[in-house]
């Protein structure tokens, strides 16, 4: 009897845009689809030397429309696949005038 092979890991191609620049600077990073989104955000923060990400929000605007993402979720759990273009920046404040 042939032992079952573990399922092949799937990947997504990810880039992060901020007003401090893109991570990676060009193209995409290939990351496991089960990886938390926060991992690439941490890498982007360090590489782009972003000092303060308090109240920043992660979003995508793809075929399913614009939506915010939970950075503690994986790409798979966020319904993301293929090429993922993440936007990262400060959440809007205000209202109430």
């Amino acid at each position: 009897m042939t032992p079952e092979k573990p399922p092949k890991e799937q990947f997504v191609e990810v880039s992060v845009s901020t007003t401090a620049g893109f991570y990676p600077a060009e193209g995409t990073d290939r990351v496991p689809i089960h990886q938390k989104i926060s991992v690439i955000l941490h890498q982007a923060k360090n590489k782009l030397t972003i000092s303060d990400v308090t109240n920043w929000v992660v979003s995508v605007n793809d075929a399913n429309g614009y939506r915010e993402l939970d950075p503690q979720s994986s790409y798979l759990d966020s319904g993301l696949s293929g090429t993922v273009e993440i936007d990262w920046g400060p959440r809007e404040g205000g209202g109430g005038c």
Binding site: T19, G21, V53, W56, S59, N61, G89, G94, G95, C97
Partner: protein, 145 residues
């Protein structure tokens, strides 16, 4: 702030609003030269919004932000606006619709917010020019008109 220092700071921050970032986010810049940022927010199936950020005396003062139609006429239609950032009532000083969000001159001069001083925001990364524009974009993207 000395006008030359204000211009230098503006130009340093405006340089980060690159064509690649604009393409990613659907921003179309008609002007990025001191002291005005003139930007369209565009997205499929959305009505384009035009914003003009008048950044004279940046960053001792926040930008005065005009809400416009794509053709540069004053915005009069109601924006579907779940975040209440885009206030369609008349601002007491300008008589026009305005951005009700820290980082807009109209917010900090509105009688409801004159005690919420710009000085408390001006040095935050979230309130440099790119940060303010990003916040406005997030607010707009949450609408659906």
């Amino acid at each position: 702030m000395h006008p030359a220092a204000s211009q230098a700071l503006f130009e340093n921050e405006a340089a980060k609003l690159t064509p690649a970032l604009a393409q990613r986010r659907g921003w179309v810049f008609h002007n990025l030269a001191w002291p005005v940022i003139d930007c369209l927010f565009t997205a499929p199936r959305r009505t384009t919004l035009r914003l003009q950020l008048h950044c004279d005396d940046w960053n001792d003062q926040p930008p005065s932000i005009g809400l416009l139609n794509a053709d540069c006429s004053n915005l009069t239609r109601n924006l579907v606006n779940p975040t209440n950032v885009f206030n369609m009532s008349a601002h007491p000083a300008t008589g026009r619709s305005f951005v009700c969000m820290a980082g807009s001159r109209e917010y900090h001069t509105h009688p409801s917010h004159v005690t919420d001083h710009w000085a408390g925001y001006k040095d935050r990364a979230s309130h440099d020019l790119g940060g303010i524009l990003t916040q406005l974009w997030h607010a707009w993207m949450k609408g659906n008109d």
